[in-house]
């Protein structure tokens, strides 16, 4: 190869890399070269389950996944924070839009305005959005099992700080954030894995590595191909950290989480007249590890239920129902972290039961489930 050719290669590489440098900073440039476009807030805009996109091994392409639909929180139907009858906060389970989302179905079932925010710190959110202390309402807090440790290892408090910075400071911060963006590595890898030019090569290489060496990324270390549909499990769920199936939580840890949930419940009650209802969505591995092994579960969720009840926090108990139905129904997608319509329905019916109990006890005047036909069917 001549010197001239090498110079050309370096120049072209420089231009391509400069494009990548800018692309992760400007969404339109980013999307131009992606095979499957990235739409903010709609991570479900993928052909296969999200876990496939961690390893790109073609055996884990689960077919016939429903397309995403418009998210409830962006629809006209979604009520204003102040107007809502029920508030709900949570992570991706409540926001998973390959089906009508949980808050929307709850709203339809109860005939009440259910507000939803994809937030895990309600105190911060409520203060930031200037929620005023009005009539007594319910707030459902949803957390995936694996995130509970991160959210309640320490007490939650409002972290809202009004932005009083000068224009100069804000501009400097904007420049800094432009240059030193978070998740650079993740964005570059998305660009590499999912671009028109590289995704098929990347997928082919990953598949060869898997077929020849059995190599699979640590983000999806457990899997099975022994069933009609492939099954993949996220790395966080199967490690030995407090977020995982195998971690042995001490009673002190369980008590600490529940004390912090209780503190959150008290603060919501005191500041906003909101009654907390708690729901933990079991990890897919917690429910379906039996497809792979007979490993013993650390019993985290049942222990949490017990400790939450000791503190008089209403909790929507779906764990036993999920275990009882796991063989009869498919409660999670094989290559996605999230639940299926069946899984959601179990959670929804359990939630309705809670409201039913509450209303029977005249605990909550805002909802009259006893007279709601939908409830009693």
């Amino acid at each position: 190869m001549s010197e001239k050719a090498l110079r050309w290669i370096i120049n072209i590489a420089g231009i391509v890399c400069l494009y990548a440098f800018l692309a992760i900073r400007f969404l339109p440039l980013f999307n131009v070269i992606l095979l499957e476009k990235y739409i903010p807030e709609y991570w479900e805009n993928t052909k296969w389950g999200e876990l496939y996109y961690f390893n790109f091994i073609k055996h884990f392409r689960e077919n016939n996944l429903p397309d995403y639909i418009e998210k409830y929180r962006f629809t006209e139907k979604h009520p204003d924070l102040q107007d809502a009858d029920i508030l709900s906060f949570g992570d991706s389970f409540f926001d998973f839009s390959r089906m009508t989302t949980f808050p929307e179905q709850l709203s339809d079932s109860l005939g009440k305005k259910v507000f939803y925010a994809r937030e895990d710190e309600p105190l911060t959110y409520l203060e930031e959005n200037k929620y005023t202390n009005g009539r007594k309402k319910y707030i459902i807090y949803e957390t995936a099992e694996r995130f509970l440790h991160d959210r309640f290892e320490f007490p939650q408090k409002s972290n809202y700080v009004e932005d009083n910075r000068s224009l100069l400071k804000r501009s400097l911060t904007a420049i800094r954030d432009f240059l030193f963006i978070d998740d650079t590595e993740l964005l570059y890898s998305q660009l590499l894995n999912r671009s028109y030019f590289t995704t098929h090569i990347y997928s082919a290489l990953s598949t060869i590595k898997f077929d020849v060496f059995g190599q699979i990324t640590t983000t999806t270390p457990k899997y099975t191909l022994d069933y009609d549909t492939p099954w993949l499990f996220g790395g966080i769920q199967v490690g030995d950290t407090p977020r995982s199936f195998y971690y042995k939580h001490s009673q002190e840890e369980i008590d600490n989480y529940c004390d912090n949930i209780k503190k959150l419940s008290d603060s919501l009650k005191e500041k906003y007249n909101l009654e907390l209802i708690f729901i933990i969505i079991p990890s897919k591995y917690t429910v379906y590890h039996t497809l792979i092994n007979k490993d013993e579960y650390n019993n985290f969720i049942p222990r949490m239920y017990l400790a939450l009840k000791e503190r008089n926090i209403p909790v929507i108990e779906i764990y036993n129902e999920f275990i009882a139905n796991r063989d009869k129904q498919r409660l999670y997608y094989g290559t996605d972290t999230h639940w299926t319509e069946e899984g959601l329905h179990i959670a929804l019916s359990k939630t309705l039961q809670i409201f039913d109990t509450i209303c029977e006890n005249k605990y909550y005047a805002g909802i009259d489930t006893a007279n709601d036909k939908k409830f009693n069917n």
Partner: protein, 481 residues
């Protein structure tokens, strides 16, 4: 920014393309901006430490050089040393010494009301490296071995040059600074050999070191759970992990600088083929060992003093070297152990000669040579136990359980079983190349083979890096120093 990150793989070609596109007159500006950006990607706030060190040493260098009176020169030197070592001590050693003092206070029940506070802050990446680099600059001026750099921008670039900023090689100003005044033209051979060296560095880092890390971490992070073969294997693997990790980093650093025209010093020369511990230190982390030789060992008197003092100098140098590697007793013990090795080698020289004569090794040079390599390797490996162990207690436990073989149990502890074979084959390939290279100039041999074969070698290497590499982020071990 890590070398084994996509961020660097995107960043570097942009810098190189711009570097050759702009006038040589302005290249230092580009490199300085790129170097600061490179560091700030890790933590933008800590760039202030590099800037501070740059300003102080720039001024100190000029003042030391211009001062006629020795007292004044010494004063300026002390100001520079005080600032640099002060920052290093505060960020790297304060908590370690504080905890040690608190331990003594608790144990002996003295000064009960006083406790040294603990500061919870990040250790600035590369602080040990750039601090030593700037120290050598002011000391050299003090010793009248060089004149100061008057171009502030180029001096700032010397302190922060991104290929070697965070993990060396620790460059000497006499080597690196003059290169910033040269205009490098695009040199086909240099660029090509730089790319090849970078690829080899990536291979060592992501294919070998990061793969071995999985095994080593599993065993050493659960030391009480293992004995016998897994411990021996993990220790052997650690020897290759740390070598491939650090020498891989050095190769990427040297290769990337080479592409742009700069020569950085060699940092590793096949250390596991050393025939003695002294030889090992001539081959391992050469930029650091020569730094300690020139700025600690020789100023202490080296070997031109009374015998007891010579041994003291050796011990002191190696203990300080251990401490340089980390604020932990395990590193100090590791350093002391190498000091003991060196002293013992000096003391036993005659005895070893006699033994060699008696058993006939003197007349069998090849066997002697191989035995020397094996024996040195065993000594080095023993030291690595202290270096890698999470605590002194763990290190002792590892040594105690090293030869306990009851119930061997599982040996392949890799998550993906095939990684065991890949690891062994990669180590075999590495050793093969190193032995080959020890006796012939491998790169020159490569030059002689046909061009298509050369390209095949390069493409295979790149493919191996991408397909067999562990690309999930793993820090370079030496970042912690």
């Amino acid at each position: 920014m890590l070398f084994n990150s996509l961020e660097f793989i995107i960043f570097f070609p942009i810098v190189v393309a711009l570097y050759f596109a702009i006038s040589p007159k302005y290249r230092w500006i580009l490199l300085l901006l790129a170097s600061y950006y490179f560091y700030m990607c890790w933590n933008y706030k800590y760039i202030i430490l590099i800037a501070l060190s740059t300003i102080i040493d720039y001024i100190a260098g000029i003042l030391i050089y211009r001062s006629e009176k020795k007292k004044l020169r010494t004063l300026f030197l002390l100001a520079s040393l005080g600032t640099n070592l002060g920052l290093l001590f505060f960020f790297k050693y304060f908590n370690f010494f504080g905890e040690s003092i608190n331990f003594v206070i608790d144990q002996f029940n003295i000064f009960k009301s006083y406790h040294v506070p603990y500061y919870n802050y990040l250790l600035p990446v590369g602080i040990s490296f750039y601090t030593f680099q700037t120290l050598s600059y002011t000391i050299d001026i003090y010793k009248r071995e060089r004149s100061p750099e008057y171009h502030f921008g180029k001096f700032a670039l010397f302190v922060s040059f991104f290929p070697q900023l965070v993990a060396g090689p620790i460059e000497r100003s006499v080597n690196l600074l003059p290169q910033f005044h040269k205009d490098f033209k695009f040199d086909y051979e240099r660029v090509k050999s730089g790319i090849l060296l970078m690829c080899w560095g990536f291979f060592k880092k992501v294919v070998i070191a990061d793969r071995l890390a999985e095994y080593v971490n599993e065993v050493y992070n659960h030391a009480p759970d293992y004995h016998g073969l897994p411990l021996i294997l993990a220790t052997l693997f650690f020897a290759f992990q740390i070598y491939c990790d650090f020498s891989g980093y050095s190769d990427i650093a040297i290769g990337s600088a080479k592409i742009m025209g700069y020569d950085l010093m060699t940092n590793f020369r096949r250390p596991y083929l050393a025939v003695s511990i002294q030889d090992f230190w001539r081959r391992w982390h050469i930029s650091l060992s020569t730094w300690f030789r020139d700025y600690v060992y020789i100023p202490l008197g080296g070997n031109r003093v009374a015998k007891w003092r010579w041994h003291f100098n050796l011990m002191a140098t190696f203990v300080i070297s251990g401490l340089w590697h980390g604020a932990n007793w395990t590193f100090i013990i590791w350093g002391a152990l190498h000091g003991i090795y060196q002293s013992s080698a000096v003391l036993s020289k005659k005895l070893r000669g006699k033994i060699n004569d008696t058993v006939g090794l003197t007349s069998s040079p090849v066997t002697h040579y191989i035995l020397q390599i094996v024996f040195t390797f065993i000594l080095v490996i023993f030291g690595w136990i202290f270096f890698r162990a999470n605590s002194l207690g763990d290190a002792i436990l590892v040594i105690k359980n090293f030869f306990v073989f009851d119930g061997v149990g599982e040996i392949n502890l890799f998550r993906v079983p095939a990684d065991f074979s890949i690891a062994l084959v990669s180590i075999g390939l590495l050793l093969f190349i190193e032995v080959f290279e020890e006796h012939i100039q491998l790169y020159e041999k490569l030059q002689q083979i046909a061009r298509p074969v050369k390209w095949v070698v390069l493409v295979v290497l790149i493919l191996c890096v991408f397909t067999l590499g562990m690309w999930e982020e793993q820090d370079f071990l030496y970042f912690q120093f």
